[in-house]
Symmetry: C2
Amino acid sequence: MTPDAFPVAPDTQALERGAILSPRFNADGLIAAVATDAGTGEVLMLAWMNAEALRRTLETGEAHYFSRSRASLWKKGETSGQVQAVQEIRIDCDQDAVWLKVAPGGDGGACHVGFRSCFYRCVEGGVLVERP
Amino acid sequence: MTPDAFPVAPDTQALERGAILSPRFNADGLIAAVATDAGTGEVLMLAWMNAEALRRTLETGEAHYFSRSRASLWKKGETSGQVQAVQEIRIDCDQDAVWLKVAPGGDGGACHVGFRSCFYRCVEGGVLVERP
C-alpha cells in the first residue's frame, strides 16, 4: 500500500452510505473531478485526479489534478496563478467522481483559453455559441 | 458515418473557438457529462454519454446517458420519473466534457440512493459526512 492509496469499500452499503473515503479510480487510476466557483456556483472545469492528486488536494486545500496529456501531477495555477482554494469537497454515491467548490485565485479564471470557465460555449441549434 | 457520428475538429482553433460541435469521445466512445440543477446550481450527478446519448439529448431536450454498468443507452428518469428537462447544454474548451443545466422531474431528485444530488457527502477531516 503506497502512501497515496485509499481503501476499497467492502460492499455497496459502505460505498454509498459509509464514512470511509473509498474513491473508485478507473482503469487508468483516475477519478473525475468537477470544480465549481464557490461564490457563483458556475461549473469552471472538469478534470481528472489520480490518488496522489486527491491526497494532495485534501492535505493542502488547493486543487491538484492529473494531466492526461502530460501524464503528470498538476497543481492548478502553478504557472497560471489560477490556484484553486478548496472550500468544500464532495464525493458521489458510487465514489467515482468528486465535486470541488473552489475560490479561484489569480485573475479568477480557470480556463487556458482565457475564459473564466472552460464551459464558455452553449450548444444552440446544433452549433456552438460563446456565452458568458 | 453513422447517424450519431459527430465531426472531428481539424485543429485546435476549431476545437476551442469553432462553432462546430466536435465532441471528443474517449477510447470507450464516451464523454463526461455534468448535470446541475438549473434552479439552484447544485451539481446533481456526473455521468457519461456516447454519441447516441448526446444526439438524443440534443434532439429531445431530455437528458440521455450511457450506463457503463449496463452497457446501454439510458434515458434519465425512464423508470424513476426523474426526467431531466435540459435548459442549456455547454461544452468545454477541448470538447471532452459537457455541462447540462436541467430541471429535474419526478420528485426533483437525481440520485438512486434517494438524495437530491449524488454528491450528498462531504469529505471532512478525512471522513465522509452526509450534508444537504
